[in-house]
């Protein structure tokens, strides 16, 4: 299963982590890659732990779930604490910088950035945090081109919201430094 790139997106219900996961999967489809996306959540519509998964590969994907993620996005302390315990070796963890980073994580593999604050203050809408995150994730991992990512976003947002989502995507991209981009770029096997 070495050709699989497993991504997990975790947060609180309503933060949009499932949509973030779906957009990454859509970008993979647009880029001509194989992908499987799934999610796990409780019966409540808001609150509770929400977890979504995207597997990307150049080859046919059989098992649809993530077992040891190569990448984790965590937007709440609870999800960060829970899901950093099962990571692949060398996994990249992206977390909101308002959270406390567990001491057992390798700081060299952690990207702590102000996702929630950027959405609220710079983009102006707290609910764009998931799109800010998507922009930052792709700026770091560089799995897709900017065009592929924007097309994926467009397929999953209401008409008329393109501008604010583009703004969120760009704001997310700007959270990643060139050094981080060089360190975390991932080439699919």
């Amino acid at each position: 299963m070495s050709n699989r790139y497993e991504m997990r997106f975790a947060g609180s219900g309503g933060q949009g982590v499932i949509l973030a996961s779906v957009i990454m999967a859509e970008a993979a489809v647009i880029a001509g890659l194989k992908t499987v996306q799934s999610q796990a959540y409780g019966p409540e519509a808001r609150g509770g732990v929400s977890k979504a998964e995207t597997v990307v590969s150049k080859e046919q994907i059989w098992y649809s779930k993530v077992t040891l993620p190569n990448f984790l996005l965590a937007l709440t302390q609870a999800s960060l604490n829970t899901y950093t315990k099962t990571l692949a070796e060398g996994a990249v963890v992206m977390m909101d910088d308002s959270l406390d980073c567990p001491a057992y994580l390798d700081p060299g593999r952690v990207i702590a950035i102000p996702i929630l604050r950027t959405a609220k203050e710079k983009v102006g809408k707290a609910f764009t945090a998931n799109i800010v995150a998507v922009g930052a994730i792709n700026a770091a991992l560089q799995l897709f081109t900017d065009e592929e990512l924007m097309e994926a976003v467009k397929r999953h947002i209401p008409a008329g919201t393109e501008e604010i989502n583009r703004k969120a995507l760009d704001a997310g991209k700007e959270l990643i430094t060139p050094e981080q981009a060089a360190a975390f770029v991932h080439h699919l096997g």
Partner: protein, 378 residues
């Protein structure tokens, strides 16, 4: 740019159903099948069809049977708790010979259980949930693309044999998204309704010519008057207490499926040609099994996958054909051992059968399957 689109299993069920000619959906939304109702409510008005949200699952299947009897291909979708409520009318559909498709996206039970977690524990309910001896056809997809093509087949079989077909999905496949390029539906055989009226002769509505199994279907409420009932009935459709007539009717209903298993049954096999161990699975479990089989093969182990696509009737002949070469069988399913009972019945103590199941709402992993194979000394 790729022509593929990202699609969820539940969405693919709706697209396939519409391609097959579904023009009425009546249902009561329930996790993890809700997207089927949602998507149907969006798509059906676009193709001149009708979506009805009913007050519960009993009325949902009643509306589907009514629509179908009146001449429109119809479907409902639910999960375990709703599937339980539909059982009485499912039997009515079998007895009155009303084609329809019932989607059950299985979740962890019993009762309301774990609404958002997967299971495959309605396998036996699909066969024996309604009372009385009755024919059952149930199909189970393992990918988003197969959900699309197989639900078309579900409609085709339902039309051909005039009987409800159960489309047995699970949360794994229903809520999974994959990139798919949908085939042109025109390339898939889609049955048309049988002729409304018998040619020439003034035959009764449930008249079946000798050597045939299925009466022609007249749309109810248009043209000729006739009767539909769940009671034992004669060729006129009216109730009878004549035991000979009743016996002949039920025997014919059962024979529709029993005598046509070769037409109805489909199996997928992978790496079975030289396999000494077969992992039997269906639906979403297949994904973990395929990963495990590929790893076992890479390690030089002669392991193959045997997947009933038609889960009822169980592919008995196909499994029997593999028994001489098999040293052992592993049944993997998300329940406490339901398809296992069918496998054991067919194997009849001839080949050791091991079991890997789950009842906690989590998904079986390839690692768990490989560990089980090790335990079996494969």
């Amino acid at each position: 740019m790729s022509k593929a689109v990202l699609m969820q299993g539940n969405e693919a069920a709706v697209e396939g159903a519409i391609a097959a000619g579904m023009r009425v959906f009546a249902g009561y939304p329930i996790t993890p099948s809700t997207e089927i109702a949602e998507q149907s409510s969006l798509r059906l008005p676009q193709v001149g069809g009708h979506f009805i949200q009913m007050e519960d699952e009993i009325s949902s299947i009643a509306a589907v049977l009514g629509a179908s009897a009146a001449g429109v291909k119809a479907m409902t979708a639910t999960s375990g708790p709703g599937f339980s409520l539909m059982q009485e009318n499912l039997g009515y559909g079998a007895m009155a010979e009303i084609p329809c498709v019932i989607v059950d996206v299985q979740r962890a039970g019993p009762s309301t259980g774990l609404p958002t977690s997967p299971a495959q524990a309605d396998y036996m309910q699909a066969r024996w949930g309604t009372h009385g001896d009755h024919p059952v056809i149930a199909l189970s997809p393992s990918s988003v693309l197969e959900t699309y093509t197989l639900i078309i087949r579900a409609f085709n079989l339902s039309e051909k044999y005039r009987t409800p077909v159960i489309f047995l999905m699970d949360e794994i496949v229903g809520h999974m998204r994959e990139g798919v390029e949908l085939p042109n539906p025109n390339n898939l055989i889609i049955n048309q309704r049988k002729p409304s009226f018998h040619d020439g002769a003034n035959k009764q509505c449930y008249y079946v010519p000798d050597g045939q199994y299925v009466p022609a279907m007249k749309p109810f409420g248009r043209g000729e008057r006739y009767n539909i009932t769940g009671l034992a009935h004669d060729e006129s459709g009216f109730p009878t207490n004549n035991t000979q007539v009743a016996g002949k009717l039920v025997s014919r209903l059962l024979a529709k499926v029993e005598d046509n298993v070769d037409d109805i049954v489909r199996v997928e096999e992978y790496a079975m040609d030289d396999a000494e161990t077969a992992i039997v699975c269906f639906g979403g479990t297949t994904r973990a099994v395929m990963s495990a089989v590929l790893e076992a093969r890479a390690a030089g182990k002669k392991v193959g996958m045997f997947r009933p696509i038609t889960v009822w009737p169980f592919p008995e002949k196909q499994l029997k054909a593999r028994l001489p070469q098999l040293r052992n069988i592993l049944m993997a399913e998300h329940n406490h051992g339901q398809m296992l009972l069918e496998v054991q019945r067919i194997v009849n103590d001839g080949t050791p059968v091991s079991f890997l199941g789950k009842v906690d709402g989590t998904v079986i992993t390839p690692a768990e399957i490989l560990a089980k194979l090790q335990e079996m000394e494969v």
